[in-house]
Amino acid sequence: MQYTDQGKKDTRSGYGAAMTELGRSHPNVVALCADLVGSLKIETFIEENPKRFFQTGIAEANMMGLAAGLTIGGKIPFASTFANFATGRVYDQIRQSIAYSGKNVKICASHAGLTLGEDGATHQILEDIGMMKMLPGMTVINPCDFNQTKAATLAIADYEGPVYLRFGRPKVANFTPVDQKFEIGKAVLLQEGTDVTIIATGHLVWPALIAADNLKEKGISAEVLNIHTIKPLDEEAVLKSVKKTGCVVTAEEHNFMGGLGESIARTLAIQHPTPQEFVATQDTFGESGTAEELMDKYGLNNKAIEDAVVRVKNRK
């Protein structure tokens, strides 16, 4: 494989590291958190910028409203908590005070998906991408590793408009180049291939690369596309690849309903109908377990991607 794991790190630490940098470089960036500072890794930002940090307590609705208000006066608020509490719990606050009002708020959501682990389904949201992408004007980003999460966090500070940035809890392979430029809305072609396109986001990107490696041994040439920005979707990159390979597997740590796969399916249905298989949770809640156990049980790993590739190739 042309990518190497530079050492496992959690994506949330990528967020925290970028917040430290933004604290120093962007005087208008402010941070909010609802009693989960340690989990969001923003201790250094708070230490260095105490006046630019707002601890809201366990009150996410108020946090979203405060963030919307802080934009009035030119602040760039990064409102952070677990993905579950950053979306479903406060959907209407985001909808009215942030999205409809066009506020420059960055909703930064950690512990998304099954990999939150042992806390179980009450905290493991698998519907957040769907909720957020449904909001007109909302940009939805789900980076794949520490480096990309850090780069994405820095990039959204310079983008004007509401953003949902989704990342996670566990330590995962950190393989994207440390100096990779993060372009919102631009897919990253990780590996070229000719037989199938694997389109992955978030924690499924590294397993997609492993799957591509394993498939190579079986004589299948897989192209791997990393979609970090689910909305707006890089349709051009998707179409270019799929027109070449003729079939696609999408992979994400999210319900198949409302996720990346559905966005891809819509694009293809309209512009280039193509066989597609979905590696995603199947309209289910999660449960307690380790991150790895859960990803295996719910079919979100390289093996599931490889199986899906075989299925989709047979449908060509």
Binding site: V30, K51, R52, F54, T56, G57, A59, A61, N62, M63, M64, G65, L66, A67, A68, G69, L70, T71, I72, G73, G74, K75, P77, D92, Q93, R95, Q96, S97, Y100, S101, G102, K103
Partner: protein
Amino acid sequence: MAELDTLQDIVTQTRRDIVRMVHNVNSGHPGGSLGCTEFVVALYNEVMDLKEGFDMDGNGEDLFFLSNGHISPVWYSVLARKGYFPVKELNTFRALNSRLQGHPTTHEGLPGIRVASGSLGQGMSVAIGAALAKKLNEDDHLVYSLHGDGELQEGQNWEAIMYAAGNKVDNIISTIDRNGQQIDGPTEDVLPLGNLKVKFEAFGWDVLEVQDGNNLEAVIKGLNEAKSRTGKGKPVCIILDTVMGHGVDFMMHTHAWHGKAPNDEQLADALSQNAETLGDY
């Protein structure tokens, strides 16, 4: 201070605007709008320190947030007559392709509006956020917000109330329109709010009550008193006793006109009780 008569003329004309706007589209919320007319007119024409023109950030001026967005008619009228947009545009209220949406929004770019409101309970959080931005910007202007009393049944308010006191956000004046009515009936029948003064004080706010919220002098006096209490470590709350539907006798003391438009005859009756002062739109 502007002459009281001049302000009273704006109040009367605003009442005409409200009933005419709502009648025109047979839709909208006249009751709460009429009850808050003195308050909104006083804010914009006497109390707030405002810049010329409008920009979203509002640095260097006082800000106002209407949380109970359904009383948009009173706000639109006051904004238009203050010069934020053409008075003639009031004629487009709630109509297709209008900037004057049923509930206020920034989406159509109407000058004077800084956040969408209408889904209740969100405005105080936004206002506090704007007050925090003013503190960061070392801007010593104030943030005002208005809330329905029934709206306080939304839990987010109490998150915001707790936050503002706990963090000494003392550059905000939040006013509660205590008209005692909501869509389904009297607030104390629907879900009792109890003693709001005691509740706000228990959360750490400085609270003052204005007994006659439909008396212009009393409202201005109350607002000035509230202003004098800012900057002292506590957020300030005004509990404003108003009469829903004030100024139109058949709309007063009832929730019936919360969200109902007058018919032609009722409009004529309402207008006869509020003689034209500044000229209809």
